[in-house]
């Protein structure tokens, strides 16, 4: 062990290529606390060896850990090795190139070989340059301070000795505060020990978002040592880090079952810890309409499961703000023209609502689809979009476009009549024309409501079929979110046509798979359950090959037919963490190389 000031010097474990040590500021204090323990352990050993198998109880740790060939192995702790022993956390930090960081950094990384004791009561954050993102910077600094105590196990109070930590945040563009698909989320983090009982950490970044990610990384370099009952920080650090993909998302469907506002916020917290940056909010569907529309309150009144199961404007603002402070964009989706129903019943603007047998008209009960020939429909859409614009102020917007049923539209004589008038056949190309008619008008309303031509996202569907998509959707205006399997030829087709994609291929990224069918019998359509290993190994770059620059990123989706607040956390985590590392780092390695860090992240 190496001690600052040369009080003591002993090597704990020689290992290739670097040597690990602990830095203590106060050798005396360590000495005092260890004496009684050494005595105790000696006694224990004597007792155990001589007679008894009825020794007294004890809650002090009995194990120490040692890094051998990249694995932390467990050994008994005893008086001789107590000084140099590493706790499991400390061992893991130096047992591989990326320590216990998740997601792993993409640039230069050096974690040094030393830990320093730090004082939990003396952690300061300094913001060097002020600007329009001050509120966000302050919030991020505050969050950092609240993250640190979380590494301490419940019911323990680590010693409050050790060095002070000062974190300097150097933000190049303190006025930049908006999300974009083109901004730079990179950062540089340096930690160094100073002479005056201080550890300095400095984060350099182009904007608030990079600074925030740097703080997240820094918080993962603080650990609790149960052998010494102390908080430690990795002392000599250089990390250069920047994500591979600009869009790193998680979709939550709050229409099939309702989730509490608190559970959405804790999801955003966990996303922030994993540097995911987009919370895609599938807020409505045929089953319910929990979004409170100020301009069209009846949609919520008739569409919510109960008056309590709604997201009020205040709730949404709160969530959007919460996300912003954590570098997480809250992206609204209004799915249309299919996947609507409840809430629209008194508008006269839907067809085949609750039609039975449902299997003839839609993919799951209750059925429902907007009636595209009603002019009034587009006024309602504009109002919904305006409500969303007020609350989300999004930089991109998701228009849904999922699973439109021809049979549903075809069940309406009025629609048939309209199509015949337009010389469209009542066949698939004809219904695509009708859908395109809807989409063009909806797009116009969206641009009007949001006040700008923001990028629009649509799900893959018959409308996005790669042979014909360019007849309907402009590749400079639309981003396509892929939910087919990762092997589907559509993906390559769309890439060749020049479309930008977000990957949510169901075979790896649908977190609702497995469990069971909730309609009919047997297992659900995309069974089996997808383990975190498969999520990790699903590489968008491998799928896209030479077109990988057109991949904006990926997104895991939790459709909520069979989950709600009670089970949210374990459906999402740790599997979404696997996605987070894939999208941040796009590592060339597979899950097996990440497992030990994964275990830690959980």
């Amino acid at each position: 062990m190496e001690l600052e000031g040369g009080h003591r010097n002993s090597v704990i474990k020689r290992r290739n290529p670097i040597e690990f040590g602990l830095v203590f500021n106060d050798a005396k204090e360590m000495g005092l606390t260890m004496h009684p323990k050494s005595w105790w352990f000696n006694l224990l050993y004597i007792l155990a060896a001589v007679t008894c198998y009825t020794c007294a109880e004890d809650v002090t740790p009995v194990w120490r850990w040692s890094c051998e060939n990249g694995r932390c192995l467990k050994y008994p702790l005893n008086a001789e090795n107590l000084n140099t022993a590493l706790s499991l956390e400390a061992c893991k930090m130096f047992c591989n190139e990326y320590g216990t960081l998740w997601p792993r950094p993409t640039g230069e990384i050096s974690l040094g070989s030393h830990l320093a004791k730090i004082n939990i009561n003396s952690i300061h954050v300094e913001i060097t340059k002020r600007g329009k993102s001050d509120d966000l910077m302050n919030a991020a600094a505050q969050r950092f301070k609240t993250l640190i105590p979380l590494v301490i196990p419940k019911g323990t109070m680590p010693k409050s000795s050790g060095k002070a930590v000062v974190v300097y945040l150097v933000n190049e563009n303190p006025d930049e505060r908006e999300f974009s698909l083109h901004f730079d989320e990179g950062y540089e983090l340096r930690v160094a020990s100073m002479a005056d009982e201080k550890v300095n950490a400095t984060i350099f970044a182009k904007n608030f978002f990079g600074i925030r990610h740097g703080l997240e990384t820094l918080s993962q370099l603080v650990l609790y040592d149960d052998i010494r009952d102390h908080l430690l920080i990795v002392r000599d650090v250089t990390i250069l880090d920047r994500p591979v993909y600009p869009y790193r998302g998680l979709l939550l469907d709050t229409a099939r079952n309702y989730y509490s506002v608190d559970s959405l916020k804790s999801t955003i917290d966990a996303m922030a810890a994993n540097k995911l940056n987009t919370f895609h909010w599938h807020i409505t569907d045929s089953q319910s309409f929990p979004f409170v529309s100020t301009r069209r309150p009846n949609l919520t009144k008739y569409g919510a499961f109960t008056p309590q199961k709604v997201y009020t404007p205040a709730d949404v603002r709160n969530i959007v703000r919460y996300g912003h402070e954590r570098g997480v964009r809250v992206l609204p989706e209004f799915d249309a023209p299919a996947h609507v129903g409840e809430g629209w019943q008194d508008t006269g603007l839907t067809v085949c609502f609750k039609a039975e047998p449902w299997a003839s008209y839609c993919v799951e009960p209750p059925c429902g689809q907007l009636n595209p020939i009603k002019e009034e429909l587009y006024n309602v859409l504009e109002d919904i979009y305006r409500d969303m614009s007020d609350l989300f102020q999004p930089d991109i917007f998701h228009m849904g476009g999922d699973e439109v049923s021809e049979k549903c539209w075809n069940s309406s004589e009025e629609i048939q009549h309209f199509m015949i008038q337009n010389r469209w056949n009542l066949d698939s190309p004809g219904f695509l024309n009708l859908w395109n008619y809807f989409q063009s008008k909806a797009q116009e309303k969206a641009y009007k409501a949001f006040g700008k031509e923001l990028p629009l996202i649509l799900w893959t569907s018959t409308l996005t079929e790669f042979n014909t998509i360019s007849n309907y959707l402009d590749k400079n205006k639309y981003i396509i979110q892929v939910w087919t399997s990762g092997f589907d030829p559509q993906i390559k087709g769309l890439l060749e046509k020049g479309y930008n994609l977000i990957m949510s291929n169901y075979d790896a990224l649908y977190l609702d798979c497995g469990f069971s069918a909730w309609v009919g019998s047997g297992n659900n359509w995309c069974s089996p359950y997808i383990g975190w290993q498969k999520v990790y190994d699903n590489s968008p770059a491998e799928i896209a090959l030479e077109y990988k620059n057109q991949i904006l990123g990926g997104e895991a989706a939790l459709w909520s037919e069979q989950s709600d607040t009670s089970t949210l956390e374990n459906r999402l985590w740790p599997r979404s963490a696997a996605l987070a590392e894939r999208l941040w780092a796009e590592p060339a390695t597979k899950w097996i190389d990440a497992e030990h860090r994964m275990l830690h992240m959980r």
């Binding site: 198998y53 740790p61 319910s288 008056p307 497995g514 909730w518 069979q562 009670s566 089970t567 374990n570």
Partner: protein
């Protein structure tokens, strides 16, 4: 009587703008709104939601404010789970309040009264839970709960009579609840059923008020189809904190399961404290905090007893033992276990880490005796021990020179038969140990023990090594396996736990398939006096307290209804009751998985 009719409803939105100045200068306004829906009980279809205003139902139709109130009286069994054997339900509600709830245990033997009082306490607690702890609405009638119990015996065994009758009648001055049972445990089930006839009702727009509605005009006669209705929890692969275990016990009590099969140890860790041999947890627990202390175990046993549940501890042996037994050499007792944490594990055991007890070392029996003595002190009387006996790997024993020499000295050859003889010898020694312990403790008759099905319990071996009057075999082979019937034909008592439908960890690893509540429900046990019942198993390789509730509930309720009611009807007609059970479990503090979209829960039988 509580009802909402069309004419009584009023138009919708009450808007209160409450302005709050927050530091950011934003103003928040709250919308306080009346529900848009009321619920109608449709014959054979369950509860369906209807618009509160302009409803198309005929004048005079009863409409309920919430789906839970509707379910409490809708259908032949209302919101009861598991369904009683015979039931008549009224349609009228009476408002009650826990403060005006009185118990009358006059007609019960003195020995049972302490237990009955605690059981009454659980009932009161459950009623309060329906309103989230606070009932704001006054009672229309006070409640008097009359409990009669015949037997003074408070032990819970396979022979315990759990039947009960329950009558709820509104009189002029009280709501009379009469529970009649042979034993305290039957009475407990009656009280549980009564709690399910009561539902919390929140009707005011702000949801700050909550009343309790009890159904009256009820006659129920009920008894379980099977005596052994178990839930297995493995706390070795991952440690499950005691308060999470208690929450599982709460769920079991709600669904009238009666055996908590505690797979407390395995090769991975040994979290059960032994006062006599502290090394087990010192060397076997994941951390010093991840231990079940003896005091905690005693409390759990009592907690379960009050909820009609017997705690059965399993110490899996001779296989599935490793960490916790690795200190023998160091302390001068030789190898207590062999191939502990050995690699490559695939040749020595079914999953890492490996480990098996060393039957050649007499010290093993000495420490097992100490451990069993601790357990016999802790578990309810008469003690029922599960001796494990799962997945013994010949290669593991074969890897130890000590064991091979021992076998040679005993004249056992190194074939499967030889290992069966060794295993049989181990089994007969540990059974003798258990018998001695119970004899010394004053238990008069020899007690049966439980054992997993294995090579040793195949019909070609079992008669030679295991006596049918002593061993009850827990058969975990797939439901298609003939073993269960073969064993009952030989006269062995069995417990059924078919892994391909009643293992709750399936569907998350390998080629296993997730069984949803419907598949679980459809499995029927053979009707045979040797089939004591069944269990559902939560192995915890991929679960800890974070994901526990959702894996276990509501699926375990399917097993509970199969074992209690053994219904001939299919899952289809049960789904509305299961929805009600789920909201009840949530009220009682569990976090069960959701069954389907909220829309289905408001539109019974439309998502089939």
């Amino acid at each position: 009587m509580f009802r909402v009719t069309r004419s009584a409803t009023e138009e919708g939105i009450l808007r209160h703008k409450i302005l709050h100045e927050v530091s950011a200068g934003l103003s928040i306004f709250f919308l306080v709104r009346r529900p848009s829906w009321v619920f109608q009980c449709v014959k054979d279809k369950g509860c369906r939601r209807q618009p509160r205003v302009n409803s198309t139902v005929p004048e005079g139709t009863v409409l309920y404010d919430t789906v839970d109130v509707c379910r409490t009286v809708c259908g032949a069994q209302g919101g009861l789970w598991p369904r009683p054997q015979s039931v008549t339900l009224g349609t009228h509600f009476v408002k009650i309040h826990p403060d005006s709830l009185r118990f009358d245990f006059v007609d019960a033997p003195t020995e049972t009264k302490e237990l009955l009082e605690e059981m009454g306490g659980v009932l009161t607690f459950n009623l309060l839970a329906e309103c989230g702890g606070t009932v704001t609405e006054a009672a229309e009638l006070p409640v008097a709960v009359y409990v009669s119990v015949k037997s003074s015996d408070v032990s819970l065994t396979w022979l315990t009579d759990e039947q009960y009758t329950l009558e709820v009648q509104s009189k002029t001055d009280e709501l009379s609840v009469r529970v009649t049972a042979e034993t305290v445990y039957g009475a407990r089930h009656g009280l549980e059923t009564f709690s399910q006839l009561v539902t919390g009702n929140r009707t005011d727009p702000t949801r700050t008020r909550c009343g309790l509605l009890a159904v009256t005009g009820v006659k129920i006669k009920d008894h379980p189809a099977y005596a052994h209705r178990g839930f297995l929890l493995d706390t070795s692969r991952n440690f499950i904190p005691m308060h999470d275990i208690k929450r599982m016990i709460d769920g079991m009590a709600t669904t009238k399961l009666n055996v908590f099969h505690w797979h407390v140890t395995d090769t991975h860790s040994f979290p059960l404290e032994s006062k006599r041999v502290p090394q087990f947890t010192r060397y076997g627990a994941y951390t010093p905090q991840e231990v079940y202390s003896t005091a905690e175990v005693n409390k759990l046993v009592q907690y379960a007893r009050v909820r009609g549940i017997r705690v059965v501890i399993e110490i899996d042996a001779p296989a599935h033992a490793g960490n916790g037994w690795q200190w023998g050499q160091e302390h001068g007792f030789g190898d207590l276990a062999v191939c502990v944490n050995a690699e490559p594990w695939r040749s020595l055991c079914i999953q890492p880490p490996c480990g098996q007890l060393n039957p050649a070392n007499s010290e093993v029996y000495r420490f097992l005796k100490e451990l069993y003595t601790d357990i016999a002190d802790a578990i309810p009387q008469p003690p029922l021990l599960h001796m494990g006996g799962d997945e013994v790997f010949m290669n593991c024993w074969n890897s130890s020179q000590e064991i091979v020499s021992y076998m040679t000295s005993r004249g056992y050859d190194l074939s499967t038969d030889g290992y069966m003889r060794l295993w049989g010898e181990f089994q007969s020694k540990v059974l003798d140990i258990w018998d001695d312990i119970l004899h010394e403790a004053g238990v008069k008759t020899k007690q049966p023990v439980m054992l997993w099905s294995s090579e040793l319990t195949q019909i070609r071996h079992i008669k030679r090594y295991l006596r049918k009057d002593r061993y009850v075999i827990e058969v975990w082979e797939p439901k298609e396996s003939p073993l269960l019937n073969q064993l009952t034909t030989l006269g062995y008592r069995v417990i059924s736990i078919p892994k391909n439908v009643w293992y709750l960890d399936h569907g998350f690893w390998g080629n296993t398939k997730y069984a949803n509540w419907r598949r679980i429900y459809e499995y029927k046990l053979p009707k045979n006096k040797f089939v004591l019942g069944g269990e559902v198993a939560m192995w915890t390789e991929f679960v800890d307290s974070q994901a526990l509730d959702g894996r276990v509930w509501p699926r375990t309720a399917s097993v509970a209804e199969r074992l209690w009611s053994d219904p001939s009807s299919s899952w289809r007609t049960s789904e509305p009751r299961l929805q009600r059970l789920r909201t009840r479990l949530v009220a009682r503090g569990l976090r069960p998985d959701v069954i389907n979209p909220g829309w289905c829960a408001q539109n019974d039988m439309r998502c089939t």
